[in-house]
Each structure stands twice: as C-alpha cells, then as structure tokens.
C-alpha cells in the first residue's frame, strides 16, 4: 500500500469514527452551545422577542445590580436552600445512620423515602396546596392540616400557611425538603455502607465512645459524599421554582419570588428577552461561584 492510499484509509477511518459522535455532537451544539452563546449575546441587547435588536452594552447588568426584586428573589432562594442544607440534610443523615445497621424493614424504608423525589414538582405542589388549603366550608376546615390542628385542640394554630407572607416561604421550604430529603438519604446511606466495618470494630476495641467513633471515623470517611450532597442541594434548591409556581398564586409574588421565576416573568410577562438573559447569566455565574467555593472550603477542611 502506498502512503497516499494509507493516508486516505486513515482519513476514512477517522471520519467513520467521528460519525459515531456526530448525532450527539450536533444535538449538543444546537441545543446547548448555541443557546448558551446566544444567551450571553442577548444579555447585551434590548429586545422584545420580535422586531429590531438594540445593542446597549452593559445596561442590562447595571439595571440588574440595583434591581431590588432580583436580589430579594435571590435571598428567598437562599433561604429555601439554607433550610434544605440544615433541616433536610440533617434529617437525611440521621435516617441514613439509622438505616446503616442490621435492622428490620430496611428495604421498606429505603423504598418509601425515595417516593417523594420521584413525584413531579407539579404533583407535589398541588397535593400540598390541597392539604394546606386555608378555606372553610360549612364550618369545617377544608385543608387537612388546619382541620387536624383544629380537631386536635390547637385552634389557635390554624393558619393560612401559604397566604400569609410571613409563613409562605417557610412552608414552601419545608415542602421542598419533604420532596428532596430522599436523594440525600440514598446517597449518604450508600456512602456509609462503603465504610469498612473493621474500622468501627477497631475503634470500639480501643475504647472509643459512640460519639468519638462518629466524629473521628464516620465523619472523615463521609466527607466526600457529604460534599457531593451539599453541592447538589445548593444547585437544586437555588433553582427551585415549579413548586412555588404550583403552590402560591400571583398575589404573593414579592414574598416568594425566586430567581428562575424572575427570569421567566421578564421573558413571558414583560417580553424583555435581553434583561431575562442578563439575569440568567448573572445567576449562572453566582451558582458556579458558590459550588466552586464550597469545594475549596471543603478541601481546606480536609487538610486540617
């Protein structure tokens, strides 16, 4: 075979090999890379979705910096995330520790705890909307929660949970935790089960208390998994919005708004596509920074 024919054969071979990747690459470029670049491009423009596009430089970003509704919505998402990081993850960890032993019905618990996560946000939101219903009919509370509070002797606690600006966000955060703790539970349990049981035995022989074993054996071994759970919780909860869309109506918007809902309303509500893109870029950068910082912090903690 001469060298020319050889080169042609190699070229043909490479081309064939590339054709395997081509469908994935084409879809990826069209539906990920292009919109991603276009989003950055649009964020420097004033555009109503149709008609002429005006280049306005950084004006969208300048406006964003002083947009109180935007930063408030960031605070709301932060609050939901904080509840998830503390309450939801502590619960998930406690449940995982409880299940990491020879215990009856372990399989049952594992199956049940992951049922809320497989339900859609629309279904979860609408079920809880019904349970938390504040209305009354024929002197009876329609919503299950208020009904139970009333009949079990706490009528003073009956409350319009989703209607009151003071309690709405916390209620949403708790429902969000109800939906989400199963993820953390399964991942943390899987992490616990990879820890060598001989480590526990050795620590016990050395006379370590359960608390000592937990802080000196379990926690250091679990740090990588905990980090993954923390980052996924932050990224997931900061971007939560369908739950809010289904649980509260327009009325409470300023008390329960989250960034993704702001982006959505800039786009569909006021047709400000450029501004919506600026919000999206800003939010994306913030999320990348948060997860990067979390990783750095935990690396530092590991070295100590």
């Amino acid at each position: 075979m001469n060298s020319k024919a050889k080169a042609a054969a190699i070229f043909k071979d490479n081309l064939q090999n590339f054709f395997f990747v081509l469908p994935a690459f084409a879809i990826f470029c069209t539906f990920y890379i292009y919109p991603f670049l276009n989003m950055i491009f649009l964020s420097f423009h004033e555009w109503r979705g149709i008609g002429p596009m005006h280049f306005i430089g950084l004006q969208n970003y300048q406006e964003l910096m002083s947009d109180n509704l935007w930063w408030d919505s960031m605070g709301h998402a932060g609050y939901i995330t904080l509840i998830a990081l503390t309450f939801q993850n502590a619960l998930a960890f406690a449940l995982a520790l409880a299940c990491d032993r020879e215990i009856r019905m372990k399989r049952f618990y594992r199956v049940v705890f992951f049922i809320p996560p497989v339900l859609s946000e629309v279904v979860v939101g609408l079920i809880w909307n019904w349970i938390l219903n504040p209305e009354m009919q024929n002197g009876q509370h329609i919503g299950l929660l208020n009904h139970l509070l009333y009949t079990s002797g706490f009528p003073q606690l009956v409350h319009n949970w989703l209607g009151d600006p003071k309690t709405a966000l916390t209620t949403i955060a708790i429902v969000n935790s109800w939906k989400g703790f199963g993820w953390g539970f399964i991942m943390l349990l899987a992490g616990l089960q990879t820890i060598d049981k001989q480590l526990y035995e050795a620590a016990k022989v050395d006379g370590a208390s359960s608390w000592k074993i937990f802080t000196n054996v379990t926690m250091p071994m679990m740090m990588p998994v905990i980090l993954v759970v923390v980052i996924l919780t932050i990224l997931g909860c900061m971007q939560v919005f369908v739950l809010i869309l289904t649980m509260v109506n327009e009325g409470l918007v300023n008390h329960t708004d989250v960034p993704v809902l702001r982006i959505l309303s800039a786009m569909t509500g006021t047709n400000r596509f450029g501004y919506a893109c600026a919000e999206a870029v800003n939010f994306g950068v913030i999320l990348v920074c948060i997860s990067f910082m979390t990783k750095k912090l935990s690396d530092k903690a590991k070295q100590v």
Binding site: N14, L15, N17, F18, F20, V21, P23, A24, I27, F28, T30, F31, Y32, I33, Y34, P35, M39, G49, L95, A98, C99, I103, M105, Y109, R110, F113, F114, I115, V118, S120, E121, V122, V123, L126, I127, W128, W130, Q137, Q140, W178, W183, I186, A190, T194, V225, L227, L235, M238, Q239, V242, T246, P259, I263, M267, F273, C277, A280, F283, G284, L287
Partner: protein, 281 residues
C-alpha cells in the same frame, strides 16, 4: 445485672430508631394516600366524610378527568415523549460513548470534555435562549422539537456514564467479534450494547423520571393542548377545576401512579445509579 441493662438499652434504642423511621415513612406516604383518598370522593362527601377510607368509592372522577379533562391526550403524549426521548438518548449517547471509549479521531478529547463541562456548569434560565432558538427554527409547538430538546437534557450524563462503563469493559469479546468479521457498528450493537445493560438501565430510569416530570420546557414550547404532556396538562386542568378537588386529585393520581409503579419495579437501579454517582462524585 449489667448484661440485663445492656439488653434493655439495646431494645429501647432499636425501638426508638424504628419509631423515628416509621414516623418519617408515614410522613412520606400520607400525603400521597390523602390524594388517592380524595380522588375517590365526590365534592359533597369530601368535606364531610371523616373516615380514613371513604364509605363510598366513587370512580367517576377518573372518568371525568380522562375524557372532559383531556387526560387521555395528555397521558398518551407523555408516554410518547418519554419513550422517544429515552430511546433517543440511549441510541445517541451509546454511539458517542462507544466512540469516545474505543475509537480514535482527532479532536476526540476536546469534544468529550465539552460534554463533561456541560454537566458541571449549571445553566439556570437556559430556557429563554432555547425558546428563542426554537422559534427561529419553527420548532415551537412540534413534538419533534420538544423531543430533541429533552434528548439534549439527558445526553451529557448518559455519555459520561456509558463511557466509564465501556472503559472498564474487557476487550476480549470485542476482539473475538472482530475476528468473526464484525465491523465497528457490529461491535457496538452486538457486544457493547448488550454488555452495558446495567448502565443503560440506570440511564433509562433516570431519564424516564426526568421526562415524565418535566414542566417548564413543555410549558414554553407546547402551547397546543393536543401536544401537551401530563405535567403541563395538570396545570391547565387545575386552572379549569380549581375548586373541584376530587376531580383534580383524580388527575394528580393518574399522573403520579405510573411513575411510582415504574419506580417500585426499577428501584434497585436507582439506588445503584445514585450510589455510583455519590461514590464517583
């Protein structure tokens, strides 16, 4: 004496643990049970009947939701979208992962790391730019457009998972197939795909959940009620029946039960997928 105390303490401890676990399990199940319970009641009995199990089971709500609520259409659409998207993801991602793992071409690593990077970088609100592009391509209000968008959503994770799997696979079978005269496509179809079944199961279950439960793209891209999947249809339905709770709960039940049943059958793979994700990081 001392051993007695230990046994007693052990029993109390395990009882406490079970009480804790069972109460959380009940908290998980009760809202779902409550939804199903209400779906079997009528608007008259739902506020009156105090029993845990309703005295009279009423199946009419399901019929109303299925026919008048357009659920027959939504349900079928959801099934079509889920099957097409998941099938597309498995096909496209396994071809790509096979090439990334086994074949050579210039620029391979760059393209692969682009997929990895896409998985790491969160893109909140990417739906704005996606909507603009779909509008340009005239793919708004088409099944095809929505399916392509959703394939893209699951692509990166599936490629990464399958590539790690193919990398670990032994080359002996492949060599044997090559000696028997199999080409690259033949090896992909006859050797790689059947062996990758565990990884494909994980991909199928996670993407099925994702597509079945997807809401925002369905809302932005599909305005025609004949094309809407269940989650989108539920919101339309809720807008129309906001006071008729039993019928709404019947609709929710129909959207939730299939996915719960699939989950119960496939939960082994979910645990495996999440565990490997957690351990790999």
């Amino acid at each position: 004496m001392n051993t007695n105390r230990y046994v007693l303490w052990g029993m109390t401890k395990s009882t406490l643990i079970h009480v804790f676990l069972i109460s959380v399990a009940l908290t998980c199940l009760f809202p779902i049970f409550w939804m199903v319970r209400c779906a079997f009641m009528t608007n008259e009995t739902v506020f009156v009947d105090q029993g845990i199990i309703p005295h009279h089971l009423n199946f009419g709500n399901f019929a109303i939701a299925w026919t008048q609520g357009n659920f027959a259409v939504y349900f079928l659409n959801s099934v079509v979208y889920t099957v097409c998207v998941v099938g597309g993801i498995v096909l496209v991602s396994s071809l790509a992962a096979f090439s990334f793992s086994r074949l050579k071409f210039p620029g391979k690593n760059i393209i692969f790391y682009m997929f990895v990077a896409a998985m790491m970088i969160p893109l909140p609100g990417s739906f704005v730019a996606l909507f603009v592009m779909m509008n340009k391509l005239h793919l708004i209000n088409t099944r095809f457009g929505y399916i392509l968008c959703m394939i893209n959503v699951g692509l990166s994770m599936s490629i990464l998972l399958l590539k790690t799997f193919f990398d670990k696979m032994s080359r002996d079978l492949e060599d044997a197939a090559r000696i028997d005269g199999c080409g690259k496509i033949g090896i992909w179809w006859n050797v790689a795909l059947p062996l990758a079944r565990p990884a494909i199961a994980v991909i199928v279950i996670f993407n099925s959940l994702n597509v079945w439960n997807e809401y925002i793209l369905a809302t932005l891209l599909l305005g025609d009620s004949q094309l809407m999947p269940l989650q989108r249809g539920l919101m339309v339905f809720q807008g129309a029946n906001s006071t008729d709770y039993p019928v709404l709960m019947a609709g929710l039940t129909m959207a939730a039960i299939p996915i719960i049943v699939v989950y119960l059958f496939m939960q082994k793979h979910i645990v495996k997928g999440l565990s490997s994700g957690a351990v790999v990081g």
